[in-house]
């Protein structure tokens, strides 16, 4: 399916260009020791988000469902979720450098997925058994991955700021980082939001799993494991047992593990079919 003569992948490529432009602009400002052009980066990321939404919408029309049927689509959807959240969080909390780091993460996720044609050569058929609720559960789970992606970013920023203040390196990149208190506050809120979304997602999924225990496969167990790990992190944080740097390291590590597990999880899913109608795969 095309729009204005461009395929879904072309729209997604254009979105990547916007994110990359935000990344380059932010890097140039940092190298010149200047303040981040926060508004410009926000506008670029927002433009990229619109283009990406269009690309994913076209892909969704082509596959007649939520575009999370292969690794390419999963990476795209995760990046889209993180950015949609950044657009809200960035505008609300005005965290300096968050737009820059979000541009970095989105560019990496987008470019890696676009650079791997094999990831998009096939997609899983009947992955959700034709159940709209199961598809919603999967989309919600991936959206929570987007929340955890943003959490990993704010945690990384927390670690950088702590390093800067502990080691008394206050210039360059460090001088533009938000305060430790703000980063901790937003991280806890993101952790709560991610766990709530994932709990909701798993709750929907569990209704179907109890009806058919044989459907509980590796992907579901891995996803449940990710949820449990984040839930434990949240409980420990709320009880004051996992705080400051240890919490930040835990959030970064958990997201890295969650991201790395996507490949094996995806590979262990149902039979495959061509990724999308031929029109959607035209260059």
């Amino acid at each position: 399916m095309t729009l204005l003569g461009l395929t879904d992948r072309s729209w997604l490529c254009l979105a990547s260009v916007c994110y990359l432009a935000g990344l380059l602009l932010g890097t140039a400002a940092l190298l010149r020791d200047r303040r981040q052009p926060r508004l410009t980066i926000y506008v670029l990321v927002a433009a990229g988000f619109l283009l990406q939404t269009l690309g994913l919408y076209l892909r969704g029309l082509a596959v007649k469902g939520c575009p999370i049927g292969n690794l390419f689509e999963i990476f795209q959807f995760t990046a889209w979720s993180a950015i949609s959240l950044y657009l809200v969080v960035g505008a609300t909390f005005r965290l300096s450098l968050l737009g820059y780091f979000t541009s970095c993460l989105s560019t990496v996720l987008m470019l890696v997925s676009l650079a791997m044609p094999a990831w998009d050569a096939t997609r899983h058929v009947a992955a959700f058994g034709g159940h709209a609720w199961v598809e919603f559960h999967a989309a919600l789970a991936l959206f929570s991955y987007g929340v955890f992606a943003l959490l990993a970013l704010t945690s990384a920023m927390y670690l950088l700021q702590t390093y800067s203040l502990k080691h008394k390196h206050l210039h360059g990149l460090f001088s533009f980082l938000p305060s430790i208190f703000e980063l901790d506050l937003i991280s806890v809120r993101l952790l709560v939001a991610g766990v709530v979304l994932m709990t909701w997602s798993l709750g929907i999924g569990a209704i179907h799993w109890v009806e058919d225990l044989s459907s509980v496969d590796t992907p579901k167990l891995v996803t449940a494991g990710v949820w449990l790990a984040y839930l434990v992190a949240l409980i420990l944080r709320l009880r004051g047992r996992l705080v400051s740097q240890r919490l930040a390291w835990a959030c970064v590590a958990l997201f890295a593990l969650a991201l790395l597990s996507l490949g094996p999880v995806n590979a262990s899913r149902h039979p495959v079919a061509p990724a999308a109608p031929a029109s959607a795969r035209k260059p």
Binding site: P178, I180, V243, S244
Partner: protein
Amino acid sequence: MSEPPPTLFLLGASHHTAPLALREKLALAGGKLDALRGELHSFADLREFAVLNTCNRVEIYGVAAQPETVARLQASFCAMNQMDPAVFEQIRLHLHGPDAIQHLLEVAAGVDSQMVGETEILGQVKDAYAAAQAQGTTGPVLNRIFQKTFQAAKHVRTHTAIGEGQISVASVAVDLALKIFGDLQLCHVLMLGAGDIGEKTARAFRSRGAVRMTVASRQFQHAEDLARGFAAAAVPLAEATAGLSEFDIAVCSTAAPERVVTQAMAAAAMRRRAARPLFFIDLALPRNIAPDVASLANVFLYNLDDLAKIAEENVALRQAELGRARALLAEKAGALWGQVEPRMGGNRLPE
């Protein structure tokens, strides 16, 4: 033979041209400033003037109808300050036309200041202009120049890093606190010690939004005295150190020869507030806070040397911006001279 056109001039001396001993002689303290203004009023061919008088400079900006006016003004200024005109010739700052404008722009922007990038000078230039306006000694030329000067100073501060970073120990400490807590309104600040440096730091915290403050001192009376000035609470030293977990920022500046805060004390406090950072600022010599406190998670410790080093780095960063700032101001000065020159009918003061 036609009359020579009026001239825009600057006459004076600053810390760049005169040593402190001579600046002391030129300082317009007490009633000397008013006396100088009265003297300048008596020059019939001095069309406009404004006097900038700070601890580091005395500068007269004016528009003279005759080139000789400046020479007569200089003689009068020397006589008034009982200074040998030959000595003044060696230390004087005498510019005219666009160079005078460029100098005023650099002064107002803090580029010419001893502490590069400081902001106090802009207020002093504004005061000098306001006083001249109030006395009716400015006209179309100086009005235009001073008004544009304020805009240019703001422009340079916005578009260069000339004013970036704090350059006093107390302000650096407050900046660090902002990097940790973001908003000082939510923080509880403990001042351990009620001496001068403690007072300066307390003032810096208060001016940047700190509301909740507690003062503790080995001599409770001193704590009460300082606390009164800041509408803060006063507590005995032992009580403050025992309740460290209640505070977000602890500024230590006592004269105690031993450690006032040990690692055990800080660790005990952090057990009660693990998720909230604790920021120690040690301004005392000998140090009041055990250095190993810094190894605790979520605890940040800065001593006098750390703060002074950051202040020095900030000064160096500002110095590095001088070239850019001067280039920007030179553009502004050129444009401004283009605007005021027609109002003066040219400027051809001989050297």
